[in-house]
Amino acid sequence: MAPTVAASRAAWMSAGEGTRRSRVDDVSGLTDDALIARISDGDQLAWGEITRRHLGALVGYAWHMLRDRAEAEDVAQETMVRLMRKADTWEPGGAKVKTWLFRVAINQCIDRQRARRTTSLDVLAEQTDPDTGGATVARDHALRRTVGGAVDDLPTRQKQALTLVHYQGFSQKEAADTLDISVEAVESLLARARRTLKAQLRDLAGDLLEEW
């Protein structure tokens, strides 16, 4: 006998926590493409899972590019809104969801950077390290400002590549796809960024650069 909707609902309601968790786990095992297909059908669990996978990275990328938490969260939210609107017409097997998301975020960051070319490092310090007090904390605070300032001073393209690869854990191939350039071009950007940072930080934090 085919199960009725009421019987299925009753079984779901009477199921234990373990059963419900296993359904969540099922979602967590799906590919991004499969999640998008479910999202277009209104699946809240799939939406929660795709958010869990990408929201933090989007905020992180945007924050490193903009150095403003509120703006970074705006970028991440707008990117997720666009993904939701795209879900109905998403073509599985095409661009990776991760690549698509970061392209949207990158373009938004560029637009915002054009709107305001400079950001005060004082703002950076206030927004990233509310905890102050103690010599160690003050030293870390100063180091963070130094490192943040050096990264911030990199040309935009180098900063994009470094942020994707170092802070977001992209492979060079993923970064190349996202930035729409070759792997060799990504490696060149990374090499120039690392050389610049080493030169700058050797002066400012040379002891630490040699310490490890």
Binding site: W47, G60, H64, R69, M84, L190, L201, W212
Partner: protein, 146 residues
């Protein structure tokens, strides 16, 4: 690179600049040559140490996590987007003439429904008999004429 084509210090430093300090990120073909260089070159070991130091310095500048408020907003996006989608469909310019026409038809219908019609007074139309006072009045008039 291999034993027949050993890696130079310059090439190793270039590899570190391109691919970072994690050997897992180095091209597979360069790993053995880099290992051989590291085994006997103090300069190469120092270069690797500086590369690791740079990555640890960069780690001192982590991004903040998404705020609870952002996560809450993202969690409610599906519902917000459904409402947005409905509004966008209804408010699209292509629908505006149809909405206007529907409003006009509705107005005409309601107006017509409120007007008195012949059926409001019965199917037989106006009853002159009742308007004149009914059958009793007519009887009085007839008796006077007699």
């Amino acid at each position: 690179m291999d034993k027949t084509n050993p890696m130079t210090l310059d090439a190793f430093e270039a590899l570190l600049d391109r691919c970072g300090a994690n050997p897992d990120h180095w091209p597979v073909g360069d790993r053995d040559a880099a290992d051989q260089l590291l085994a006997h070159s103090a300069d190469a070991q120092n270069a690797l140490r500086r590369a690791v130091g740079l990555e640890r310095l960069l780690d001192l500048d982590p991004a903040p996590l998404p705020s609870d408020a952002l996560e809450a907003r993202i969690a409610t996006l599906p519902r917000a987007e459904t409402a947005h989608w409905i509004w966008m469909v209804v408010a699209r310019p292509v629908w505006r003439p149809a909405v206007l026409a529907a409003a006009m038809l509705g107005g005409v219908y309601l107006g017509a429904a409120a007007l008195p019609t012949s059926t409001a007074y019965g199917d037989s139309g106006f009853d002159l008999n009742s308007i004149a006072g009914g059958g009793e009045t007519l009887g009085v008039i007839e008796s006077l004429e007699e």
